[in-house]
């Protein structure tokens, strides 16, 4: 379970997040939605420690995350797949995965086997340089790399960006399946609200750094005001 309380984040004079508070329950998928500039990426970066907030608290399983270095937060079991995926192009697929498994003290062979089973394409290309992968394959690699460390909290920043609708649908299914065992908490940031809401349990809507709505996904889907103003979804 992760709880964010009264988070305030600034970039110089610009307030990116204002008094943001919400909870993401264990084992559930919480979507964070909103238009460009709403602060979604900033929220994830603050949780994983890349950005220090001006004020506020983030509690994850009894740990206080604010003020911790990103590498320490990662070692607590937080996996962040950043915007742009962060796949290291100069490494091979397997080296990227080895890097992911490095600090998590998991059995490498077993971990690799599990990820190759889940993403067969990666297994086929395991010795290739990541630069040669397509967009969808990179997304899978980034996710596999985060998953191989067996995180308890997974932060996904716009995983569907640049992907074809079919690939996006598959991706969302995979994320849904990951949470089937209820041991993994997922915070899913998406601009593509409809695909996210299809698999999310709860949703938080951000607008210009503030929380506009925080409710069960079904409720939000049904609320037509929200569609129009914040999600840009077709009627």
């Amino acid at each position: 379970m992760i709880e964010v309380k009264d988070l305030r984040v600034c970039y110089g004079a610009v307030q990116a997040l204002r008094d943001v508070s919400f909870r993401a329950e264990t084992g559930l998928i919480t979507a964070v939605l909103g238009s460009n500039g709403a602060g979604k990426t900033t929220l994830l970066r603050t949780i994983s420690g890349l950005k220090a907030p001006v004020s506020g608290a983030i509690t994850f399983d009894d740990h206080q995350l604010v003020g911790e270095k990103p590498e320490n937060i990662a070692r607590l079991g937080v996996g962040h797949v950043p915007e742009g995926r962060g796949v290291i192009s100069e490494f091979t697929v397997e080296e990227n995965l080895r890097l992911g498994a490095l600090v998590a003290k998991v059995d490498l062979a077993a971990g690799l086997a599990e990820q190759y089973a889940r993403f067969p394409v990666l297994g086929e290309r395991r010795k290739q340089h990541a630069a040669k992968l397509s967009g969808g394959e990179r997304q899978m690699l980034a996710m596999a790399r985060a998953l191989i460390a067996k995180p308890s909290l997974l932060l996904l920043d716009e995983p569907s960006l640049g992907l074809a609708p079919l690939v996006t649908a598959e991706l969302m299914h995979t994320i849904r399946d990951l949470c089937a065992a209820k041991t993994l908490t997922v915070i899913l940031v998406e601009q593509n609200a409809s695909s996210a809401l299809r698999i999310a349990d709860n949703a938080v809507i951000l607008h210009l750094g503030r929380v506009m709505a925080d409710d069960a996904a079904a409720t939000i889907v049904a609320d037509e005001n929200l569609h129009q103003y914040y999600l840009g979804m077709a009627e």
């Binding site: 420690g49 990103p70 950043p82 962060g86 100069e90 490494f91 490095l102 460390a149």
Partner: protein, 299 residues
């Protein structure tokens, strides 16, 4: 066979090889720093020189050659790590010329302080390997126990570094920290420590190289001993590609051999000129180095 091995050409090749592995080692240490910190360390010859002085004069006394080497290398590790923490930390993210200028200043300070404390008179470091060339059928072969020691040591160090980077977890983290520091942090890599480690390793490699040079009977240890070697090492690294360890070693050895021929058949003063020409021509043809794998800068 004997005549062949003692011939002028083979002699030049062997001598060039001996010099070349030295250039290759320094080039390798430059590549290590470049890959881990994105900085071209102009003090890459001066820092190991200082560490060698520390080892020889301050700590070693009468302990014998191998403890002396070990202490110098240890001093090199410490100096490298300390320099990173104290000096270089402030320079990440600043304009590109800042670290260059600061390391150039550091170079001068180290040489001046070393000369002030220990004077510029060359000091000999007696090694257990004889510098006298072997003889085959009455003619000298351009190899002596000492030169074999140099070549073997250099090759061993290069292999160890290569193995470290390719096969170990530490090497993976070092490479990742250099290529993608933010992503590495997200994966739990202690990036700052890796940066320091990069400096520690590269200064260590440089110190081994300096010890080899300084224990050469015909050279000795002076504050300026690494100046010329740094220049040749830089040329080798630049020609091979600042981000390619293999390139550094291969160019170092090749350049060493070419220069030996130039010195023998033309004029010893033409050596550095040739090296300069090699550098200029190579950079005009392949600005990023011959063995480099770096992608073109994306707009």
């Amino acid at each position: 066979m004997d005549a062949f091995l003692t011939s002028r050409i083979v002699s030049d090749i062997l001598e060039g090889l001996t010099n070349g592995v030295i250039y290759g080692l320094i080039a390798l240490s430059l590549v290590l720093i470049w890959r881990s910190a994105g900085i071209l360390n102009f003090a890459q010859g001066a820092m190991p020189m200082f560490a060698t002085y520390l080892g020889v004069i301050v700590f070693a006394g009468d302990f014998g050659y191998w403890p002396l080497v070990a202490i110098s290398v240890a001093a090199g590790f410490v100096l490298g790590g300390t320099t990173e923490r104290v000096l270089v930390r402030h320079l990440y993210g600043k304009p590109e010329i800042n670290p260059i200028v600061v390391m150039v200043g550091f170079l001068i300070v180290l040489e001046a302080v070393a000369a002030a404390i220990w004077s510029t008179t060359p000091r000999g470091i007696p090694s257990p390997f004889s510098p006298i060339d072997w003889h085959l059928g009455g003619q000298p072969v351009a190899l002596s126990p000492f030169s074999v020691y140099e070549i073997v040591t250099a090759l061993v160090v290069m292999s160890l570094v290569a193995a470290l980077f390719r096969f170990t977890k530490l090497g993976l983290q070092l490479r990742a920290s250099a290529l993608a520091p933010e992503v590495s942090r997200l994966l739990g890599v202690r990036v700052n420590r890796m940066l320091t480690l990069g400096w520690v390793l590269s200064t260590g490699v440089g110190t081994i190289c300096t010890v080899l040079v300084a224990s050469n009977f015909f050279t000795g240890l002076t504050p300026q001993v690494m100046d010329g070697i740094f220049a040749f090492g830089f040329i080798a690294a630049a020609v091979g590609g600042l981000d390619s360890p293999v390139g550094a070693v291969v160019s170092g050895v090749t350049i060493g051999i070419i220069l030996q021929f130039v010195g023998d058949y033309v004029n010893s003063n033409a050596i550095i000129l040739t090296a300069l020409i090699i550098l200029i021509v190579s950079l005009m043809l392949r600005p990023n180095g011959i063995f480099t794998k770096s992608a073109a800068r994306r707009v």
